[in-house]
């Protein structure tokens, strides 16, 4: 049993934190956000130069083919410094899915994303399915030389800036069946595709999609026909775990800010931190951060484990990190008082980021129910 980083992983972590400290200054961040940019193009280029976008690209495709720990280390820095660049969507989820793409598209898009030239967003959910990944009511029918897609997608993380979408659509089976789901690469500029761009409370620019007879060539199919679900599940698990690391990075940062405030802000002639009621709150926040970090490690390790174990651990981790992170984020605002409620301190932005991470790919409540379902299955088998 060992939770230590290897020497190389530690170097990557140091470099990611140094990058954040150099480029993650909050005043500049706010200025960028108020300009209305989805993210900073220069930062995205630097992330590519640092090799972050190659981490999840297999070596055969010219990437580094690194493991989950490397992704965790970078994602933690992303959360710690509130970075808005599409690392999880384009740098983690997309390369996992592209391993199933046809040769030419795979080569083109893997190279493009590794260089930071292409943004690829997975449209993972539908209005009628809430957070259920297997709910795919969008249809793809075979037409001459390709497929014709119709349906709606309620969420594509970073979708506002996407050049390509990866869209699950049903080629067979009932709406909630894992069988019969196919994955398609769809360029953002395509006839019949309406991209509704919106800014979330954490200033990420996402999208929802409407597909009205979108036609793509047969070469845009990812993986086998009707056989896309396992690949989708695998890629999304990797995305979920990366977002957990992002949450843990954000939790630690906002908790540190709050501790600093408790130690310096004075009311009634004494520091806030000298009040026992607030000391106990601070302790509970520290426990919450420890729990979340532990869950992040377990989930990261589980990505390399057996399929059944992996689902259970990731759902448990997503639920617990969601719960603990919202506690830490809300209490950080509360303990800062009025200033914590303004846009002028980073504290409020950390809370909004944590709320959005909890919602992404299924909130705590959803994942607790998933865990309950998988525990029922194992109990029945025992």
């Amino acid at each position: 049993m060992n939770f230590d980083l290897s020497e190389e992983q530690q170097l990557l972590k140091d470099s990611a934190w140094r990058y954040g400290a150099d480029h993650g200054e909050f005043t500049a961040w706010r200025a960028r956000v108020s300009r209305g940019d989805a993210f900073d193009a220069a930062s995205w280029k630097r992330m590519a130069d640092l090799g972050w976008l190659m981490l999840n690209v297999p070596e055969d495709d010219g990437g580094l083919g690194s493991g989950p720990v490397e992704t965790m280390v970078v994602a933690e820095a992303i959360g710690r410094y509130l970075m808005l660049e599409p690392f999880v969507s384009t740098g983690v989820i997309a390369p996992a899915l592209l391993t199933g793409a046809t040769e030419a598209l795979r080569a083109e898009l893997m190279a493009g994303l590794a260089e930071g030239k292409v943004v690829i967003a997975l449209a993972d959910a539908e209005p009628g399915g809430r957070f259920d990944l297997n709910h795919v009511a969008a249809r793809a029918e075979a037409v001459d030389g390709g497929f014709r897609l119709t349906g709606e997608k309620s969420h594509a993380l970073d979708g506002a800036a996407a050049d390509w979408f990866i869209i699950p659509a049903r080629t067979a089976g009932a709406d909630d069946s894992q069988d019969g789901v196919s994955l398609f690469l769809v360029p953002a500029e395509t006839s019949g595709l309406t991209v509704r761009r919106s800014r979330a409370m954490d200033n990420r620019h996402n999208a929802s999609l409407k597909l009205e007879g979108v036609v793509v060539p047969a070469a845009n199919l990812i993986g086998g026909l009707g056989d896309g679900f396992p690949l989708l599940r695998d890629a999304l698990d990797r995305g979920v775990v990366a977002r957990l690391a992002e949450a843990v990075g954000a939790m630690d940062a906002v908790r540190e800010m709050t501790m600093e405030y408790l130690k310096t802000r004075k009311q009634f002639g004494q520091t806030l931190g000298s009040f026992q009621a607030l000391q106990h709150r601070a302790v509970d926040m520290a426990i919450a951060c420890e729990e979340a970090r532990s869950m992040m490690y377990l989930a990261t390790i589980a990505l390399s484990g057996s399929a059944a174990e992996r689902r259970r651990v990731i759902s448990a981790a997503k639920a617990r990190v969601g719960q603990t992170s919202l506690y830490v984020g809300r209490q950080s605002v509360q303990l800062h008082g009025g200033v914590g409620f303004t846009e002028e301190l980073a504290v409020a932005h950390y809370l909004k980021r944590l709320i959005m991470i909890d919602m992404a790919f299924g909130n705590a409540d959803h994942h607790r129910a998933e865990l309950a379902a998988s525990l029922r299955v194992s109990a029945a088998a025992a």
Binding site: P127, R199, S208, G338, E343, E344
Partner: protein, 390 residues
Amino acid sequence: MNLDLTPEQSAFRDEVRAFFAENVPESFKSRVRAGMRLEPHEFTQWQKLLHARGWGAPSWPKEYGGTGWDPTQLYIFETEASRADAPVQFHQGLELIGPIIFTFGSPEQKAKYLPAIVSGDDWWCQGYSEPNSGSDLASLSTRAVRDGNEYVINGQKAWTSYAHVANRMFLLARTDPDARKQAGISLFLIDIDTPGVTIRPVVTMDEIHHTNEVFLDNVRVPPSALLGEEGMGWSYGKVLLDRERGVTAATTTRLAQQLRGARKVAAETMLGGRSLLDDPRVADRLAQFELEVMALEGMVMRTMAEATSGQDSGPRASMIKIRWSELLQQITEYWVELQGYGAMAFAPLGPFEAPDAWAAKGMIYSRVTSIYGGSNEIQRNIIARRALGL
């Protein structure tokens, strides 16, 4: 002991219900339901509507232009308002400074200020907190120095909500720096356009400009700006803070609105051919909220009844403020959870509407309710010290 309304009270309820049914602007409702505040001009529009009906100041005595209603009538009024998705009236003139003016003000101050509060022509903002005096308000350092026939005020106020739309401001300033903490503080009524008043907007995390910093730089006001006596401002101010918590009691009746909003989303969201409301987990959560809201409403009703018969409700106002803010936060959080990805679009980046965003904004806004008006930590201290003798 009973909850029955007298025939007069029933008739009153019907009258109020009919008024709300006809007069609440449709465009207010979705925001009101999410616990959001309306835009200032909409508050004024609502105040003028109520004023035209003779209901501009429901909690004031008749002689100052109020309705003269007793607390039970007030409770009926607020409950019916909640049913109809009517907004809460903007409170800083009506509930905070108005009652102080009619209790402690001079005849001239009463004549000058009270009618314009009731009619909605004046907008008052509150200059209390300072950057270094939040929970510890009595440590405030804004100074008012007598200079000939004027007071000269210098200092800085924080969290001055709606200073950017207000034409008047009531503020606490220290007139005697040598007196004990609370004793040297006086209450002033000033015009916001007095030279030396500078307002800096502060945008809060719901991305709305409600609040401001106000800088007071050699602001010269006549002695008639002083309310009551010099050095008595703190005791008037404490009356205000107690009333502010009373306002919360009225706001509490609005939790039913948020709960209705959440329930509606649950009923309308279909998952696997069933509505979310059919999911026992969702039904349980909503039932838990219902029962907690019911317990709180019971506390409010007892407080109203005690006020009608002139009894002291002890620390219950503080308890109600704590529970109301906690429930508002939890219910709006759950409402957003029920929306799921529907709540992702905080602001559209294109020509389409984001009708579901109000719940998310209401949820974010609700974070401040456990901070303002005496934070929940301060409320707990008050209860521990004053009521429990700890």
